[in-house]
Structure formats: C-alpha cells, structure tokens
C-alpha cells in the first residue's frame, strides 16, 4: 500500500526534479553511461537520463492503467448487473458474447485491433485496453448478482414493491463493490504488464514517449553494453505490479467474508 502511494507520488512529482526525459544532452560523449552520481540509472544510446525516463514512464503507464481499468470496470459492472439481475434471454445473449470474447486471449484481441494502426493515439489505446478488459469482470459481477439475488434482503425489497432499478442501485451494486474493487486493483497490474508487452512488440505507445515496455525494446540491441537501460524499466514494472497485486490481495482478504 505504501509502495503504491509512493509510486504515484513519485510519478507526479518527478518532472519538477528530474532532467527532461526527451533531452539528449550529450549525444557525442554521454551515450550509454553506466549508473553514477550524475545519472543514477545511467544513460541510454541517445544519452537520455534513464532514471528520468523510468519515472516518466511510470506516469504514463499508471495513467493508462488507471483509465483503462476505470473503463473496463464500469463496463463489466454494468453488463454483469444487467445480465445477472434481468436474467432470461438478455443474460443468455450477453453471456454467450462474453464467453466468445473470453475465448480469445486478450493479447490477441488487442493485436488484431492495434496492429492495424499506423500511429495509435494514446486515448484510443486506453479505450482499447479498457474495452477489451471487462469480460472477466462482467462474469464475476454476474455471479455475485446471481448469488445476491437469492438473498432474503433482495427478496424483501421486491416484496416491498421496489422497482428493479432501485434494487440494482441500492441493494446489488453496493454489495458487489468489494469484489469489484479487488477486480479493479488486480486489473491495474494486468494492464501495466499488457501495455508494457504491447509496447515491447512495438504496437503500443509510440516513441519517443517513454514507456517501460518501449524502453526495454529500445535497449534490446545495447543490452550487452548497457544492461542498466533494460534492468531499471523492468524492475519498475515488477515493483509496480507487485505493489498493486499485494494491495489487491490485502483488499481481497478484507472483502472476503470468509476472512472476516
């Protein structure tokens, strides 16, 4: 949890403290400098400061992840609530589509779409990540709703004459908030990895915008000369995703009635 807050803070505060991630201060002699006093994480083949690029990458990765997850959790919750509560053919149709979508690994869904764009606007990228990530969440929420629907307090609200919308908003949604939050947290870690992977394959965020995956891709050729250009962005991914997942885990334990 603390790590997570720290990461976000660093990502926000960094631009004020660090050199310009895009600047190439010394293209002649400052190339591939090992970590040292001046550049803590060293420099890359264009003499750019790796630390500053890693930190800026954090901002971009986290922004992408949070926004994408916000989109996918909203969609997932909506579809899950509708399918679970309305039931019948609405549920059947929605769930067949979700089944089909879940059958295609998310990486491939993205590859099919993303590969076509010559240059991918960031916003579109985020939307794509978001709209391909809700299928699992909708299943989860649907399952929760199917369970909650049988709870006597939902039956009691029906017996009181409550409208469906009231039941969904007042009774079902608040009680799915826990699992939803857990799904969202774990989703963030997932998207960070996915985004890094796509950037590594060269189909995500385009250079020169620094992203962790893109940095690892760029450093592939100079790995033997300047391994730090690859190690640090990689570690940044590991730490970020680990922090997010640990947080999600703790959240799950707090939310799960079995642990209460």
């Amino acid at each position: 949890m603390l790590t997570l807050v720290g990461l976000v803070l660093i990502a926000i505060a960094a631009p004020m403290l660090l050199p310009d991630p895009l600047a190439q201060p010394d293209i002649l002699q400052g190339v591939n400098q090992p970590p040292g006093a001046k550049h803590w994480f060293g420099t890359d083949q264009l003499s750019r400061d790796v630390l500053s690029r890693v930190v800026t990458g954090a901002r971009i990765s986290l922004t992408i992840a949070f926004l994408a997850v916000a989109v996918s959790v909203t969609l997932g919750a909506m579809v899950g609530l509708v399918a679970g509560y309305w039931g019948g053919w609405v549920d059947a149709v929605l769930m067949r589509i979700v089944d089909g979508a879940l059958a295609i690994p998310r990486l491939f869904v993205l590859l099919l779409v993303v590969a076509a764009w010559e240059s991918l606007p960031l916003l579109v990228f985020i939307l794509l990540l978001g709209t391909t990530g809700w299928f699992g969440t909708s299943r989860l929420i649907r399952g929760e709703v199917l369970r909650l629907k049988q709870e006597p307090y939902v039956r009691a609200a029906e017996a009181l004459g409550a409208h469906r919308i009231r039941i969904v908003l007042r009774h079902l949604l608040p009680n799915t908030a826990g699992p939803l939050l857990v799904a969202a947290t774990l989703g963030v870690g997932n998207v960070v990895l996915l985004e890094a992977g796509l950037s590594f394959l060269g189909v995500g965020v385009r250079p020169p915008t620094p992203t962790w995956g893109g940095m690892i891709l760029d450093s592939q050729e100079i790995l033997f000369v300047a391994p730090w250009t690859s190690i640090f962005p990689g570690l940044a991914i590991v730490i970020t995703v680990l922090a997010v997942n640990l947080f999600g885990d703790a959240l799950r334990e707090a939310v799960d009635p079995r642990h209460a």
Binding site: L107, W117, G189, L201, I216
Partner: protein
Amino acid sequence: MTRWLIGRTAQAAITFLVAAVLMFFLMRLTPGDPLARLMGDRPMTSEEVATLRGLYGLDQPLPSQFTRFVAGLAQGDLGTSIEYRTPVTTLIRQRLPASLLLGGTVLLLNFTLGVWLGALQAVRLGKPLDRWLSTISLAGFAVPSFWLGLILAWLVGIKWQLLPALGMIDPLLPASAGLGARSLDIARHLILPAFTLSVVSIAATMRYQRTAMIDALREPYVRTARAKGLSERRVIWRHAWRTSLFPVITLFGLWLPIVVTGSVFVEHVFNWPGLGSLTAKAISGRDYPVIMGASLLAASLVVGGGWLTDVAYAALDPRTRRAQ
C-alpha cells in the same frame, strides 16, 4: 450424462463461433489497410494492388467477405500468409511441434510443482514458508516475461555462457549427431524459455491450489478424519488434498492455450521456432492472416480446454459423476 455432454459440446461450438465472428469484425472494423505494409515495402501499381485485393477478397462487401471467411473456416482454410506467401495452416503445422514442446514442459512443471507448493502453503498457512512462497509467486506474477527472458538470455546465455540463449537447435551441431545428442541439444535450449515461462505463470496454479486447499482443510470432514484417529499425513494428503484437486482441474483448461499465447513474448525473445515467435513476427509484418490464424487457434484451445476440463471434472468428481 450424454444429454449433458451434448449440451456442453454445443455450447463450446457456439462459443468458438462467437469468438470467430468477433475476431473477424474486430479486424475489419479497425482503420488501416491490411495491405498497407505490403505496399509500403515496395511500390506497387494500382493493378497489382487490385489483384492482391481480389486475391485476399478485400474488394468485396463486408457480408460476402464474412461468408468467405466462414466458408474457409469450415474447410480448415485460414487463408494465406502475406509475408510468407504460404497457407497459414501449413505454417501453423510447421511451428506447432516446437510450441507443444515448450508449452507441454511448462504445463508439466506448473502442475506438478505448483500444485505441490500451493498445497504446502495451505498446510503451513500464515507461517514463514507460506508468506515467502506467496511473495515469490506474486513477484513472478509481476515480472514481464519478455524482460525476464532478455535478462536471462543475456546473463546465463551470453555473459556466463552456461546455456544456449537462442533458438532450439544448435546450427553447428554436425548432421551426423545421433538422436541422444540431438535431444540433449534441444533440452539445453529448452531450459531458459521453459524456466522463464514457468516463473511468470506458476503463481496462478500455486495460488489456486492454495485457496482450494485452505477451503478443504476447513471442511468439517477434515475434522471428522482427525476425530477418527487418522494420521495427520493421511488427513492432509488424502482427505483435504484429494478433494481440493478437483477445482484445480479447471485451471488445466486455462493453461492449455499457453502453448500458443503465453509464449508469444518468450518465444520471441529466445527466438524459439514456435507459433509465438511466428505471431510476433507477423505483428511487425502486419501479416493479418497469420495473426488471425494464431488467434483462432488460441480461441479453439481455450474453448477446447474448457470443454475438456468440464468433461474431466464431470467424469472424475463423484459429486458430479453420478448426479448427471
């Protein structure tokens, strides 16, 4: 039981069809021309473009393109690779063995090691061993496979020269080498990619098994087993663990697709001549039929894996076996 089996099979077929339709529209709804890359490489006359379009059926309206696609699918025709100018099915057939070898190894590792470690964690719940294994497996979960692969290839393969870092077969191996030498060579090449892939994927099995085992250990029948005076080993491994294995079967279906999908990055990094590296190359080459083919294969594995686990579950678990 047969009725259930027919239903489950039909459901799998529908799911696969929906997936295929989704894929088709995903691809066609994106802006950009699948032939752009091909045209970008060398200038083509408009006649050439038109011919190519005709060849790939891109000049026809969407519905008829779709019919063509479905018809092709039904005949097992996945189109022709733009890059290799070879039928996609042929490419897949060529690359499948390497992927199966890698994926199979990882699957085996995941299940033997993951199930055992996960169960062990549950038995030692909350103790240092459990906490360490939890953290390690979570860290594995957080590692990007391509990065771990790169670092390992660099450290173990290049810097320390312990294991071959790239490919599946040593090109310098004399043609006269016997089967033993060849197998050993492949095995040595297999270690790094298999290790990388296992590290990033074993956490799921461990965690799943751990949860299933924790639940099983809390069941009243475990208390009954203790009250009967059974040895602790029997209580844990026969009563709790065996019951906890049934939910873990479902994971197997989840991992089957790893043969194709999970290995895109790893195969790419280690230049493993499987479907993953084929896909990775197809991406940079915008080789749509290949991406499509790989996606379809992945989807069929997901659906097939799901079907298989459900059937296995129904066949193995006495609770469902006779209830059907």
